[in-house]
Each structure stands twice: as structure tokens, then as C-alpha cells.
Amino acid sequence: MAVLSSARPVRKRDVVSRICAGLLGGYVAASAVSMLLARVSPLSRPNATAAAILSTSILYLLAILWSFSARSPSRAWLALAIVTLVSGGLTVGLIALVSRS
């Protein structure tokens, strides 16, 4: 599947898929990673939370760039889904099992 480029024609479906992956999938993935960061960071509770929120926008940016540079839209979605599930799962597990003061 062709990489997006200004030189070659692109399929409309692929572009829409990548936009959705970047905007929606990226939002969810960045939020999940930021939650994990806030949870596992060795900083104190408010510091870890603020640091995680401040890094969310960078994570979102990286997720969007990934969605458009991945070799195919399905790979973009797959990676975002894996990242979301792993960090979301870890966060939920940590919240349930480990209390944090």
C-alpha cells in the first residue's frame, strides 16, 4: 500500500482512515499512555499527574505523526490499539492492585 506523498495519488479511503487513526485513535492512545505515566512515575502524586498532563500533547503529536507515516493505515491502527490496550490495561491493573498515596 502506497505511502502518502504529494507526488503519488492517494486513495480517499486510506486518507480518511489515517485521519481517524490520528485524531481519534491518537487521542485515546495518548490519553492511555499519559495515565500510565502518571501512575508509574516515581514523582509524588500531584507532580506525576501534572507532568503526565503536560506530556499528553507531545504523545498526541507523536501518535498523529505515526498514523501518517506508518506503511499502511491498518498498521497505524494496529500499533495505536496495542499501545492503548497495554497501557490502559496496566493502568487499570495498577489502580486496582496498588494503592498510591
Binding site: 505511502v3 502518502l4 506523498s5 504529494s6 507526488a7 492517494v10 485524531l23 487521542y27 495518548a30 490519553s31 492511555a32 499519559s34 495515565m35 500510565l36 505515566l37 502518571a38 501512575r39 514523582l43 509524588s44 502524586r45 500531584p46 507532580n47 506525576a48 499527574t49 501534572a50 507532568a51 503526565a52 498532563i53 503536560l54 499528553t56 500533547s57 507531545i58 498526541y60 503529536l61 498523529i64 505523526l65 501518517f68 507515516s69 493502568t91 495498577l94 489502580i95 498510591r100
Partner: protein, 537 residues
């Protein structure tokens, strides 16, 4: 692989740029104006005279509040400073018994008009024309206008993410970032637009990166705060830990006279050893439980809130407590807000930031124009969609040429509308948007190149004549201001003239080029986009 990565980043740069471009242009333009939001408000209320004595103004503010809102739960007074010669007061009713205390911030920008007032330097309520002043630019900058707050906020948020993506991909896809900094090929059509775009971008790149990151990070606190839920069950607990705002005291029900507020401010400024008070918040005024919080002004500090609040007993005037030092989290958070809002900037730095903002605005404008210039040749291909091209071309005129003209119309309305006009503040903005609507309609019906020239002409006219309108209507003309050394008015006229001359130069360039170039095809409905603004190819 590397080549294809770069070209996909280039593709992303072009398309996020053109999708987010118009909103980002408006955000940049209004945000740049908002660096001088206080000064704009003062200019738009020519009744305000220079400050004489802040203490007198504060005293007047307390007297005004005691008469106007004796039963309020909170009085807030913003003390006059170098940038604002008057006291801004707001008040808030007592929370209902049993109801949760209102814990939104004490941001006096958002108090409703019937709970705010301005007290002049002599301590009397200011009799000034109703206007939104510089707040219009500030609000438009993050939430647009005439839209529900949430809708405007989401649109600006999406556009800001687009800006962040466009900025990053622009740097990634740019091969010769250093060499191109020194490249400016004038009068080469498309290449000149490209050079201008990269020069504006690279010249102020550190500013663009900072303002974009801090802008998106501020939005993230509202739009993506999910990290809070990893550590807290309720965001309230987190914000209470960060802000460490003292709990409001319980109402005692016993009346007790309020201590002299200026005495309290004096003791605070002695404790701060030279620091100045910015905001005074009086909780439960007139009650035995009254408290006075004095916030320190953030001059010279990046953080938007230095966290140096002193709390005094409102009846005895004794120091009750000092706020605990900021945690690292709060310091970092307030630094991000502070870097974006630039409360710390003294005049020289403020002008530099204003200039950087103008470069950012120019970067967006040239980028949008470059999009059309690059695609002009494709119009010769009958298979190429003209609707999209025509849309971009038209919106470019209406936004890049039309919106600045709109702000000039806003200032015109401020000077020309009668002072007693019903809901005058809204009418000023309605005038501005009426002007914008006309210019939009004009750019739709006219051939694009003519529309550019005409809208640029209107913009330069509106800006260049404005100092004369001001001199005729406000008894504070350029000459009088030069004589009295009123820097605010002189500076305002200077900026108006600079913007007006810029548009006039663009207008003349457009005229000169349009008389020289011959379009590749005759004008007509079949080739609406085939007009060349710049360059003889």
C-alpha cells in the same frame, strides 16, 4: 524509506496547514493583539485618564462595593498597575447554605457584566463607554466568537493540534532549513511565497514552538486531563492539591466593620519587601469572619501565578497565614500558562513577543497563499477539481485580507457609535462582523485577483484613516498625544499606521502585478481560479 517518510510528512504539513490554517490565522492574529489587551481596553475607553494614586482608587473600589454589593460573598479588586490605570472590581454572591462552595477560579475576566465595574484613579465608578476592549481579542483567540464556548473551544483546540502537527512536519520535511533561512527570492511567484513562508517560520521558530506547545498544553488541561484519573478519584482533589487555595471561612452572622483595605495592602507589600499587590479578594465582607487575601503581582516571574498569597483577618487586619510554597507540579503548570500569557513581559519584551506573533501570523498567511500558488498550474488540467481551489482562494482573501480590516472596523465602531447606544459593547462587535460579512461576500462574487486588491485596499484605508478618526472623536489626537508624551496613544497610532502601510504596500504590489500579467485564460465562470496574484511565470 527515509525519502518516503519525508514525503508523507510533507503531505501531512500541506494538508493540516490548509485545513487548520484559517482558524490558526485568526488565533495568531488575535493572540498577538491580546499581548496588548490591557492597552487596547484603555485606548477603547478614552475617558480613562492616567493613574494618580492606586491607594485612592482601591479605597474608592471598597466604598463602591460596600454600597453596591454589601451582602456579597466575595469582592475582588484588581489593583491599578503600570499597564492598567484603573481598578477592576467584581463581586460574587454568598454561596447558598448547604450548597457546595463555588470553586471556580477567581478570574475576573469571566464575571458577568452585572457583577463587575471599573473604578477610576480618583475612586469613582468610571463613566466610560461600554466596550469589550482588548478582551474581545483575548476571547476570540481561544474560543472564537458568536459560537457556544464549547464549540469554539473544540474548533480552536483541533486547529491548535493541527498547528502543532504542521509545525513539526514542516521542520521534518524541510531539507535545507539553515540555507533557506538566508534565501529570499523576490518576484519569483511561487518560490517567493515559499521563501517568505520559511523565513517567517524559521526567523521566530523558538517562539512558534514555545507558543504552540504551551497553547496545546493549556488546552490539554481541559481537553485531555485523563492522567488525573490514574491518581485521583476526582479532579477536584488534584486541583485543590495544586492550587492550595484556602477554604473560605464560615459566615458567623455577626456584623463587624471591615478593616482599611489599604492598610492590609501596605502590610503585605512590606512583607514582600518590594513586591506589589495584584489582586485583593475580600471574603465575607462586613461579617466578623471576614478574610482578605492579597495576591502578589507576577512581574519578573514566568509563572502566571507566583503563589505568594497572604491572608489577613478582615476585621483586625492581622496576618493570618502565608500560602505554602508552590509544589513542583504547580510551578511547572503555572510556568506553562505564564509562558503563553506572558504576564511577566516588561514593555521591551512585550513588543518583541508582539513582533514574533506578527511573524507567526505572516507565516500562516504566506503558507495559505503558497497552497494556491502551487496549484495554479494544475487548473489547466481539466480533471482538476476547481471547487476546492476556489474555496481556498476565496477564504484566503476573506480571512487574511478581510479579518484585519474587521478589527479596524471594530476600532472605528468604538469611536463612532454614540455613547448611549443600546448594548453598545455588542454593537461594536456586530459592526466588526458586519464588515467581515461584506468582505466575505465581496471575495465570493469578485474574481479572485480583483478581490485581493480591493480587500487589501479597504484594509489599508481603514487602518490609515483610523488615527484621524480618533483625533476627531476623542480629543486625544496624535499631535496632542505627542506633546503630552502619552506613549499608549502614540504607540497605538504607530501600530495602526504600520499595519495600514503594510496593507497599502500589498495593495500597490497587487495592482502593479495585475496590470502587468496576462492571465493564461480569459476570465469567466469556467476559470475562476486562473488569476495570478504575484509573479510573472
Amino acid at each position: 524509506m527515509k525519502g518516503s517518510f519525508r514525503s508523507s510528512m510533507q503531505w501531512l504539513h500541506i494538508w493540516t496547514g490548509v485545513c487548520a490554517g484559517w482558524i490558526i490565522f485568526l488565533v495568531f492574529f488575535n493572540g498577538t493583539a491580546a499581548y496588548f489587551k490591557q492597552e487596547i481596553t484603555t485606548w477603547m475607553k478614552p475617558e480613562i485618564t492616567a493613574a494618580t494614586d492606586p491607594a485612592k482608587s482601591v479605597e474608592g473600589a471598597v466604598a463602591f462595593l460596600a454600597a453596591k454589593a454589601p451582602d456579597a460573598g466575595t469582592w475582588t479588586i484588581r489593583v491599578p498597575d503600570d499597564r492598567n490605570p484603573v481598578s477592576e472590581v467584581t463581586w460574587r454572591p454568598r454561596p447558598m447554605p448547604g450548597a457546595a462552595p463555588v470553586e471556580d477560579d477567581d478570574d475576573d475576566d469571566r464575571a458577568s457584566p452585572d457583577r463587575r465595574a471599573t473604578i477610576d484613579a480618583d475612586g469613582h465608578p468610571l463613566a466610560a463607554r461600554a466596550t469589550q476592549g482588548g478582551d474581545y481579542f483575548f476571547q476570540f483567540h481561544f474560543a472564537l466568537h458568536y459560537l457556544p464556548l464549547l464549540v469554539g473551544f473544540i474548533l480552536v483546540g483541533l486547529a491548535s493540534v493541527g498547528l502543532m502537527v504542521a509545525l513539526t512536519t514542516g521542520v521534518i520535511s524541510h531539507r535545507r532549513i539553515f540555507a533557506d533561512f538566508f534565501t529570499l527570492r523576490l518576484r519569483h511567484g511561487q518560490r517567493s511565497w515559499f521563501d517568505a513562508h520559511t523565513t517567517f517560520a524559521v526567523l521566530a521558530l523558538p517562539f512558534h514552538v514555545t507558543i504552540t506547545y504551551t497553547g496545546v498544553a493549556i488546552l490539554a488541561f481541559f481537553a485531555m486531563p485523563w492522567a488525573v484519573f490514574a491518581n485521583y478519584t476526582s479532579p477536584r482533589t488534584f486541583y485543590a492539591e495544586i492550587m492550595s487555595r484556602p477554604q473560605p471561612p464560615k459566615l458567623s452572622g455577626q456584623a463587624a466593620p471591615l478593616v482599611s483595605v489599604n492598610t492590609v495592602v501596605n502590610s503585605a507589600e512590606i512583607i514582600w519587601n518590594g513586591g506589589r499587590a495584584e489582586t485583593i479578594r475580600i471574603i465575607n465582607p462586613g461579617d466578623a469572619s471576614a478574610m482578605i487575601h492579597v495576591d502578589r503581582r507576577a512581574t519578573g516571574l514566568i509563572a502566571s501565578d507566583p503563589g505568594n498569597t497572604l491572608t489577613f483577618n478582615g476585621v483586625t487586619g492581622a496576618l493570618d497565614k502565608t500560602s505554602p510554597g508552590r509544589s513542583a507540579a504547580a510551578a511547572a503548570t503555572f510556568a506553562v500558562f505564564g509562558l503563553h500569557e506572558a504576564h511577566f513581559a516588561r514593555p521591551a519584551l512585550r513588543w518583541l513577543l508582539f513582533l514574533c506573533g506578527a511573524l507567526g501570523t505572516a507565516m500562516v498567511a504566506t503558507g495559505l497563499i503558497l497552497w494556491t500558488e502551487k496549484r495554479r498550474r494544475k487548473l489547466l488540467d481539466p480533471g482538476y477539481s476547481r471547487e476546492g481551489f476556489r474555496l481556498v482562494e476565496t477564504l484566503n482573501v476573506a480571512v487574511i485580507g478581510g479579518y484585519p480590516a474587521t478589527t479596524a472596523a471594530y476600532f472605528w465602531a468604538n469611536r463612532l457609535l454614540p455613547e448611549s447606544y443600546p448594548s453598545r459593547a455588542d454593537a461594536e462587535i456586530l459592526c466588526a462582523f458586519g464588515c467581515w460579512g461584506l468582505l466575505l461576500a465581496w471575495s465570493v462574487v469578485r474574481p479572485n485577483r480583483r478581490a485581493w486588491i480591493e480587500v487589501l485596499g479597504v484594509a489599508s484605508f481603514l487602518f490609515l484613516i483610523l488615527p484621524i478618526v480618533n483625533a476627531q472623536t476623542s480629543s486625544r489626537g496624535t499631535v496632542a498625544n505627542l506633546m503630552s508624551g502619552d506613549l499608549l496613544y502614540v504607540g497605538f497610532d504607530g501600530v495602526l499606521l504600520a499595519i495600514g502601510l503594510l496593507f497599502a504596500a500589498a495593495f500597490w504590489t497587487g495592482r502593479r502585478l495585475s496590470s502587468r500579467t496576462t492571465p493564461a485564460l480569459p476570465h469567466g465562470a469556467s476559470s475562476p481560479g486562473l488569476t495570478v496574484l504575484e509573479g510573472t511565470e
